[in-house]
Amino acid sequence: MASCRRSSPSSARVGENVANLTPELALLRDETRDLAKRYGLDFYEVIFELVDHDELNMVASYGGFPTRYPHWRFGMEYEQLSKSYAWGLSKIYELVVNNDPCYAYLMRSNAITEQKLVMAHVYGHCDFFKNNAWFGQTSRKMMDVLANHGARVRRYMDRHGVEQVEDFLDVVTSLDNLIDPYSPFVVRDEGKPRDPDASREVRKIAAKDYMDRFINPPEFLERQKRQLQQDEQQSRRFPARPARDVLKFLLDHAPVELWQQDILAMVREEAYYFAPQGMTKIMNEGWAVYWHSKLMTQHLVEASEVVHYCDTHSGTLATRPGQINPYKLGVELFRDIEHRWDTGKFGDRYQACDDPEIRRRWNEPTRLGRKRIFDVRRIYNDVTFVDEFVTPEFAEDQKMFVYGRNPQTGQLEVVDRDYTKVKSQLLDALTNFGNPIIRVVDGNHHNRGELYLVHDWNGADLQFDQAQLTLAGLQKLWGRPVHLETREGGKGRLLSFDGKEATTKEITATTGAAALAFGKGKAPDA
């Protein structure tokens, strides 16, 4: 325990009382942990801390890391959390940090039933953190990393002034959704640096004269030539391929000072750390709910606590009509998967069957459900999870629908209950965790060092006022005029900021789109 404390000064700072569970809670923790292990959950050690609501709000404002760098937006978050707690609008039940060891916080004022539920829930999350592939590249010592970031930012503030550092943080933070969440898992072809000695001739494969016609046929030569031309063209581009990781591009190329570069790198690192949590929200919560529900109802709940448990549990799963609750969707999907793999509702034969009645009543005792959900929690993320496991039957059972705004009445209306539409709408919302995909296409636009970004428009428009403000920040960082190509209702728009004036121009969306298409062909996004 002592070593934990040292490696993580944060826990000491949360309150004077570290690892301060009451004997009763400590017993419960051990019981819950052993149960979870018996079911096959696998997690790093979990350290629970008992905090009061104010401390919990504080830790939550910092995204679970009490030692983060100072920034006013955490203060804003804190004010909002405190207010909404004081007004009884919301209450944070659990907060768990993906780290080794995992840190989780229990609210002192919660009843013992809720503490049990939270602990069981937390062990679900911790298992997910450790085993889900998308968390595979996250640092497990993030407590320390962020404490380190905090120290560095404070040092920069001492040296360069609070306001200057703060202004820079504001700019960078407002760009921190422009990352490439898949990049930790694939090697992106960044294009080769230009080799001045490279021959411009098509190189033939050595062959005897009489074989040449077969070994170097004209199509082959033609292909080689085109490849060469393309390489040539690309090597003149900067960046060679559209860069989706805008923060990295800025880190490599923006004319900033060393301390600014360091801050940029920190913010980027944190963005990548938090990205998997955004990518697996539905799964992660679903998995945790599945396990708290299982452990509670099968083992932990006393008879006298049943009503209290049900009340709390149903509060977590309540769907406000017209909205998707990730807890609910996630746990229902996991349960559906378990049920399907228990009853043989999978595989070619089942898929080929198109009689809904037979499909409903399908029952072959395969009993693979538990194994299947453990596999699913390991390799899927929200997009693939929804894509693969939201079936027509599931969508119908869950009464899912697509809604939209009726242009005549201005009201939101149920548009469709067709499952393919539901799914595609859901997938759209989950893609890139709901953020627009924006790439750097040209870092030397007009050969004047201007920055040209292209928004990968897929039907939804950006908020233009916000986009202009963000561009203004980006311009401060880049130093030269910046442009963003996007569309509004399908029509091309070019937003620009040159340091003084923000402009919006109508354009025909071709240049950037062409560049994008070319980028996509070479390095497809996962």
Partner: protein, 368 residues
């Protein structure tokens, strides 16, 4: 407890809010949007501009996925009822609202307009009594230790940590349990102020004119409340006759008829004599009108009332003339003429909402 990190960030956030309000004070004042959101001691201010901008999608543009009943074509369940009409266009639907104490707003107003602090008159100034040992604190000299409280704390701690044994009830206080008596100082009665708002509600004062008065009164209130702990406000409306009314009526009453300003001044004088004697109160009569009076004879009567009775008993008399389509604006000229050189009478012209701040400055800028 040590200074917590979040407190620094929170303070910084409040500072930023404050500076944003300062920058946009004029906008806030002339839009009047603060007033509708007034709580008891705090004002809720919409501040979408404080959030960090991002490249993001507009909300609910293409709809989304929901769960629940309903056939295609029916309204989606679970709308809050406010989703009608224009909502989709506004990015600020979930605009951040920040609560700011009225006190802070007054300070900001004071800083922006460079208002001097008011020097209260009357002999009931703030006086601090020596106080008595009625408080408790965690540190102090041994001579002031409070044994009972100390042992109670120790007992609490032992029970909580499970070291208390009822069979052997030994309670040993440690350093953290110690409690000491402390001095509580009490503040004696302080200077109090009374504001008497008078408004012309004759036909020529339209809705916009009343709104201007309303906004101005809000800010004057805020400032005077900041200066005096105890502030009482009375409202008088007048056309040809004057009445004392409550706040709501004052701002919403719509009457027509002639204008006899002296009726209001007489009522004001009566209030001052009955409730707010000058020996104990700092009295601030404010009068808002569009400048038309019934007759020049009545105006003479007004001047006489002011000079003989009202002025000696009040700190300052303020007259704000709101421009309206019908008012002649004669009354201000008459007042200016009659009280030229008298510091106690302040008049100002309010052309429109943008004129509110300068007008407040001229009223409160004297520090009286």
């Amino acid at each position: 407890m040590a200074v917590r990190r979040i407190d620094q960030d929170h303070t910084r956030f409040r500072q930023i809010v404050r500076s944003k309000i300062k920058q946009n004070l004029r906008k806030f004042v002339s839009s009047g949007e603060l007033i509708g959101k007034q709580g008891d001691k705090v004002v809720s201010i919409p501040m979408p501009q404080i959030q960090l901008p991002r490249f993001r999608y507009g909300e609910n543009q293409n709809g989304g996925v929901g769960q629940g009943e309903g056939e295609p074509g029916q309204p989606a369940p679970g709308q809050d009822g406010d989703g009608q009409g224009q909502a989709g266009e506004e990015p600020g639907k979930h605009a951040l609202e920040v609560e700011v104490p009225l006190e802070d707003l007054a300070k900001i107003l004071g800083e922006e307009l460079e208002l001097p602090s008011i020097e209260p008159r009357g002999n009931k100034q703030i006086r601090t009594d020596a106080g008595r040992y009625t408080g408790i604190r965690r540190s102090g000299p041994q001579s002031l230790r409070h044994w009972k409280r100390t042992f109670r704390e120790a007992l609490k701690r032992q029970i909580a940590s499970g070291t208390y044994d009822p069979a052997n009830p030994r309670v040993v206080p440690i350093r953290e349990d110690m409690r000491f008596r402390s001095l509580q100082t009490r503040q004696s009665p302080q200077a109090s102020a009374a504001v008497i708002y008078m408004m012309d509600v004759s036909g020529s004062m339209g809705r916009e004119q009343k709104e201007v008065v309303r906004i101005e009164a809000f800010w004057i209130d805020a400032w005077l409340r900041h200066q005096y702990k105890n502030l009482e406000v009375s409202y008088i409306v007048h056309d040809a006759a004057a009445h004392v009314v409550d706040q709501h009526t004052f701002f919403h009453l719509r009457e027509s008829g002639g204008t006899k300003i002296s009726s209001a001044y007489e009522l004001c004088l009566q209030l001052m004599r009955d409730k707010y004697p000058a020996s104990e109160w700092n009295v601030y009569p404010f009068h808002f009108s569009d400048g038309d009076n019934w007759s020049s004879r009545d105006t003479e009567h007004c001047v006489q009332l002011l000079r003989d009775s009202v002025l000696p008993a009040c700190n300052q008399f303020c007259y704000g003339q709101v421009k309206s389509a019908y008012g002649s604006g004669q009354f201000k000229k008459d007042l200016d003429e009659a009280f030229r050189g008298d510091e106690k009478v302040v008049t100002s012209d309010i052309q429109d909402r943008d004129g509110i701040l300068p007008s407040i400055k001229s009223f409160l800028g004297k520090g009286r």
